[in-house]
């Protein structure tokens, strides 16, 4: 069976869609060779991300086993994870506290 989404590292809290997926779809995934299934809250376009777990506002978003940004809202399992609910912590000249590491 062709994979509908991929999780790159066992630490990750997001998956990347490998097809256009509809809201309400249940997506079967493999995390660390163990099966996981996630019911989608939103439609997820090819290449976009959805949450594998509930993520609290302010928590790190993990992909490739690394931090790719911070949740700006509470994100529910199966929700679209993108610019509307994730902020970068780097190159943020617009944020007063943001200073280069």
């Amino acid at each position: 069976m062709e994979k509908k989404a991929i999780v790159l590292n066992s630490k990750d809290n997001v998956a990347t869609a490998l097809a256009d997926l509809a809201a309400g779809d249940t997506v079967a995934l493999e995390v660390d060779k163990k099966p996981v299934s996630v019911k989608l809250v939103n439609p997820i376009q090819f290449g976009h991300k959805f949450s594998l777990i509930n993520i609290k506002s302010g928590s790190p978003i993990l992909k490739y086993g690394e931090v790719i940004g911070e949740a700006t809202k509470d994100i529910k399992v199966g929700e679209h994870v993108h610019v509307h609910n994730v902020a970068s912590t780097r190159g943020r000249g617009d944020v007063v506290k943001g200073a280069a590491k």
């Binding site: 994870v81 994730v86 970068s88 617009d94 590491k101």
Partner: protein, 384 residues
């Protein structure tokens, strides 16, 4: 393995045998283009800089044009300046001549205008091309190659498949004793710790951190969020959310070997193996830096699809986005099927085999469609 290339007097080996027509300044760019139009086998380098630059940018422009001229894919160079421009045409010519290749200089204000310069330049370039065409390809070990890698028009497939396939091809070449270079410092932000760990010494690791900080500080100083600039609008539509996410995917185009050396935009490596040239994420001037570093085959991944090639360097376009591959087949050379992601090493070996064919003369799509003239030069600014 081996390929068929052109030996150069400095010991390097080219994969192409061009006469380059290089303007020092934008005021000479159209004239350079007209000279090149007249002579089959010659290639212009079109750019829009060369005047009103800060001292740092001026030095960067001079060394970039010098090292571009030294690229092994070039047999001989015609330099064209305006005359009142601040560029150091004599220094550029001397630098290129040190590589043992013929160089001629034309100054438009001295020769007497465009038509006279085009006439003189055409005679010179025609003779250079005639001389260069006597050289035939010879067989060389693949360790004489230098790969450059670029990613542009990225989406999430770039980090999943396109860049890892290129990285696997890089690893093959570096293990064989060849050289490879990657860049796009902006797209190390958030992934610099992974690169620093692979540096040959702690000092080289610190240099990686330093060049990343220098780029990031330009955004902090201006008080703007870099999102929208990088990742771009198109990157975001393609699913990339932050610069960190883009960077973590982008660095895989450098493979996994030890990073030997970091150098400035426009410079070339002094050592063998894998190196990083400090440059922007903006593809066009980034490709110029990779060509100036001495790359002889370029591997370029794209998710959204971009036609752009590198100046003087055959560019293989790679995508892991199936829809892009179908839609932009005229521009994309190599498809990475994400269903086979677990076999990225084998895909990298296929890409490597294709790179050897291209090194031996097979034309890439960017090359046949003339997508390799208009890359331009990087400037930090401000422009005066």
């Amino acid at each position: 393995m081996s390929f068929w290339g052109y030996p150069r007097p400095d010991g390097s080996v080219g994969t192409r045998n061009y006469v380059a027509v290089i303007p020092t300044v934008v005021c000479a760019t159209a004239t350079a283009r007209q000279v090149s139009d007249n002579v089959k086998g010659s290639v212009p380098f079109l750019h829009h800089q060369g005047c009103a630059l800060t001292p740092d940018d001026l030095a960067m422009a001079n060394r970039t044009l010098t090292n571009l001229g030294l690229n092994p894919n070039i047999a001989a160079v015609v330099l064209i300046s305006l005359g009142c421009d601040p560029m150091d045409i004599d220094g550029i010519a001397e630098g290129i001549a040190r590589g043992g290749k013929p160089v001629e200089k034309l100054v438009i204000q001295h020769v007497g205008g465009t038509i006279a310069t085009v006439e003189k330049g055409t005679r010179i370039a025609r003779q250079m091309m005639s001389d260069a065409s006597r050289l035939t390809r010879q067989q060389f070990d693949d360790s004489k190659l230098m790969f450059g890698s670029e990613c542009g028009g990225s989406d999430t497939t770039s980090g999943l498949g396109g860049n890892p396939a290129i990285g696997a091809a890089f690893d093959i070449l570096v293990k064989k004793g060849g050289r490879a270079v990657f860049s796009e410092t902006t797209e190390f932000i958030g992934a610099e710790h992974l690169l620093a760990r692979r540096a040959v010494t702690p000092e080289v690791g610190e240099q990686i951190t330093r060049i990343v900080r220098r780029y990031e500080e330009r955004f902090l100083e201006r008080g703007v969020d870099m999102r929208g600039t990088n990742p771009t609008k198109g990157n975001i539509e393609g699913g990339l959310t932050t610069i960190e996410e883009k960077s973590l995917g982008a660095i895989s185009k450098g493979g996994s070997e030890t990073i030997q050396e970091i150098y400035e935009y426009g410079d070339r490596p002094k050592k063998g193996g894998l190196s990083i040239v400090d440059g922007p994420g903006f593809d066009a001037p980034s490709l110029t830096a990779l060509a100036a570093a001495g790359s002889t085959v370029m591997l370029f991944s794209t998710g959204r699809g971009t036609p752009l090639g590198a100046p003087f360097v055959p560019t293989i376009k790679v995508t892991a986005n199936g829809a892009t591959f179908e839609k932009m087949k005229d521009n994309i050379d190599f498809y990475v099927d994400l269903a086979k992601k677990d076999h990225i090493g084998e895909i990298g070996a296929e890409l490597y085999a294709e790179a050897l064919q291209v090194a031996s003369g097979r034309q890439t799509k960017a090359e046949t469609l003339h997508q390799d003239w208009d890359n331009g030069l990087f400037v930090v600014g401000p422009l005066a």
